[in-house]
């Protein structure tokens, strides 16, 4: 790591920046990434983090046990706010669970090669976030043992779920999303698991990495179909990401509740989800890259790029707030107008302004290069983004429910300590899973990183590289393409 970290920060349009620093070749990249899971002695910080996560996980388990054995009354959900923390937390987590597939699929389709350093951990984060999200609606149904009624399973009562309900769309959307993103994550990991298999020394590691790498041998015939399948999955996952949070937004927007029923909700929720997801990716990766010595792979430029995505999506969220506000006034609809005045000046104004500042104002700091490139500042902003996005869901759920059409039935929402502890506990599940992932699985997509290195295009040494890592095959200096016998 002797080479300056600022090496790829140049904005000179004449040369594309390198994505891998420190003069690393295939061998060094492989060693750097594998070192994370191969190290014999783990840093104390990992054990401390893992212990904290386990404690929180225990809190989650205790809260859920108490909830299931006692009843939904242990939460603060009550009329008029029948949707309280569980739905807020569900939307919060499922939103975070969008960045992984976005980085994998959307940035892949847009040929953003910098994604290769961060996509694996972002995908893992996605799956764990969706797991956290899934808990809340599942336990919110009350009688958890009947949660299978959500699925169209033939039963003795010959009843079927109601497909005209957005809550059922959610069941399909979130379970499809969980399935497809896990598959996408796993499939992308197969070649890297094979790397770990081939480097493993212990019997157990050889067995398990061997089992899950399915006998991958790097055959070019396999790579061809693998890449095509990956492309297809990316093309399928992209609209899927959009659909999932759109459908989550339908839960609110198909109703006629003021503040919920507004047509911009689907794209607005999607932008918010990507925004919060990138926030979480940044929150996790900034400490990880220094803890595991990945600064040459997840470079300052990578962090800067994420900061830019946060700026763009944060501005989209700000745009949506503006549209909601403007149209509420423009509509001339009194309840609609009241909903927004109530949000910003009513009893939950503190939550509204927390949300507004964290989501629409604070990310604007990313206009400054200094903030984008200073790890600590970027990290703080990313945490505030997470805070802001939780409050966004809180504001949407609570302000509209507590004060709707009928003033006589207005009220306040009072979360209980169990509400807070369950939410806190869900972080325990999330971080436990993530720390285990870091420990045992390849946290950077090695094969993909190798394929975006200049060496992958036959360029060795420090020769002239006008396109940096974007060297197209057609200008390969030494190779003349000959038609193959099969083509003739």
């Amino acid at each position: 790591m002797s080479t300056g970290l600022s090496e790829n920060l140049s904005q000179d349009p004449r040369q594309r920046p390198t994505l891998v620093l420190g003069g690393k070749g295939f061998t060094e990249v492989t060693d750097t990434v594998c070192a994370v899971s191969e190290r014999r002695k783990w840093p104390a910080i990992w054990y401390i983090a893992f212990a904290c996560s386990l404690v929180l996980l225990g809190v989650l388990g205790a809260c859920l046990t108490y909830l299931i054995s006692t009843g939904i009354g242990v939460w603060g959900n009550n009329m008029p706010a029948a949707w309280g923390f569980p739905i807020v937390n569900f939307v919060f987590w499922v939103g975070i669970g969008h960045a992984g597939t976005l980085i994998s699929a959307v940035l892949f389709l847009f040929r953003q090669k910098w994604r290769t350093s961060i996509n694996r951990s972002a995908e893992a984060m996605t799956i764990f976030a969706v797991a956290c999200a899934g808990i809340f609606p599942a336990v919110h149904v009350g009688r958890v043992w009947l949660a299978y009624w959500l699925f169209p399973i033939p039963n003795q009562m010959s009843m079927w779920p109601n497909f005209r309900s957005p809550l059922l769309w959610d069941v399909f959307a979130v379970s499809t999303y969980a399935t497809v993103s896990s598959m996408f994550w796993y499939m992308g990991m197969i070649p890297d698991l094979a790397t770990l298999r081939d480097r493993a020394t212990g019997k157990a590691k050889q067995f398990f990495y061997g089992l899950f790498s399915l006998g991958w041998s790097g055959s070019n015939r396999h790579w061809l179909r693998f890449e095509r399948a990956y492309l297809l999955l990316a093309a399928l996952a992209t609209p899927l990401v959009l659909s999932v949070h759109s459908i989550v937004s339908f839960d609110f927007a198909v109703s006629i509740l003021p503040g919920w029923h507004t047509t911009i909700f689907p794209p607005y929720f999607v932008a918010g989800a990507i925004f919060s997801g990138f926030g979480m990716v940044m929150t996790i990766l900034i400490p990880c890259r220094s803890a595991f010595g990945l600064q040459d792979l997840i470079t300052t430029r990578h962090v800067e790029n994420m900061a830019k995505v946060i700026l763009v999506t944060g501005s989209m969220v700000g745009y949506s707030y503006t549209m909601e506000f403007f149209i509420a006034w423009y509509s001339g609809n009194l309840v609609e107008q009241f909903a927004f005045v109530n949000r910003s000046f009513g009893p939950y104004a503190w939550a509204y302004w927390t949300m507004f500042s964290c989501n629409a104002f604070i990310p604007q700091l990313f206009w400054f290069k200094k903030v984008r490139q200073t790890m600590l500042l970027a990290w703080i902003v990313s945490i505030l983004v997470n805070v802001g996005m939780w409050f966004e869901r809180f504001v949407i759920v609570v302000t509209s429910l507590t004060r709707d059409y009928l003033p006589s039935s207005w009220g306040m929402f009072r979360p209980t300590s169990i509400d807070f502890l369950t939410f806190l506990g869900s972080f325990g599940l999330f971080f436990t899973l993530f720390l285990l992932f870091v420990r045992f699985l390849p946290m950077v997509a090695m094969a993909e990183v190798r394929s975006v290195m200049p060496q992958a295009h036959g360029i060795v040494g420090e020769g002239h590289r006008p396109f940096g890592d974007y060297w197209p095959d057609s200008v390969h200096p030494e190779r003349q393409r000959k038609p193959s016998p099969e083509e003739e």
């Binding site: 070749g25 295939f26 061998t27 492989t30 169209p152 010959s158 079927w160 497909f163 005209r164 309900s165 769309w169 399909f172 959307a173 497809v180 598959m183 499939m187 094979a194 790397t195 081939d198 480097r199 061997g210 089992l211 399915l214 006998g215 041998s217 790097g218 055959s219 070019n220 015939r221 396999h222 790579w223 061809l224 179909r225 095509r228 399948a229 297809l232 999955l233 399928l236 996952a237 609209p239 899927l240 659909s243 459908i247 090695m446 094969a447 190798r450 394929s451 060496q455 992958a456 295009h457 036959g458 060795v460 390969h476 030494e478 190779r479 393409r481 000959k482 016998p485 099969e486 083509e487």
Partner: protein, 181 residues
């Protein structure tokens, strides 16, 4: 030349960079071998041309699966909500197409994505945990930083001595026999 008791499965040549591998693959292709492959630690672009491979039909399979998923989603909702268990909800018709689109969409994606993954595995004949190549110590670097060209003994043009000489002429780092075990 074969001193081992196990029968010969093939012959592998090792390279340490992309340019040499591409050049060698072109020569192997032009030499007329059929049962051979390249093993690389990442997908090397241009290698399919260099090897003279044909494109895959995977997209068609996935498209069919997607259409099947869409029809399944539609049929499921029609049957359950409009035929088998008719129940008027929020004044919507029993069969409400706009309200059915989200589930149709999710089914389309689910079917297509599962099929894409499954079809990739089937077409690649994965999982296949046993391969003679895995017994070779050097081959472990095929998933890390080395490139291999492997010609199988099953190839009609394969001849232990001449194939070894051919592979050695490609200028790689090493040439080794792969025993069938």
């Amino acid at each position: 030349m074969n001193h081992d008791t196990a029968p010969l499965w093939g012959m592998m040549a090792e390279f340490d960079n992309v340019s040499d591998t591409l050049a060698a693959a072109e020569k192997t292709r032009d030499a007329g071998f059929k049962h051979w492959d390249t093993h690389t630690p990442f997908p090397v672009h241009g290698l399919c041309d260099a090897m003279g491979m044909r494109d895959t039909r995977l997209p068609w399979v996935v498209l069919t699966a997607g259409i099947t998923g869409a029809l399944f989603g539609l049929a499921l909702q029609y049957f359950t909500n409009a035929v088998d268990y008719p129940f008027v909800i929020s004044g919507k018709p029993l069969f409400s197409l706009p309200a059915n689109i989200p589930v149709v969409f999710e089914c389309t994606i689910l079917f297509a994505a599962l099929t894409a993954f499954k079809a990739m595995l089937v077409a690649n004949r994965l999982p296949q945990h046993h391969r003679p190549l895995f017994k070779k110590e050097r081959f472990r670097r095929a998933t890390q930083d080395r490139f291999f060209i492997v010609i199988e003994a099953a190839d009609p043009k394969f001849d232990a001595d001449r194939t070894r000489a051919f592979l050695e002429s490609l200028g790689g780092l090493s040439v080794e026999e792969v025993e069938d075990r």
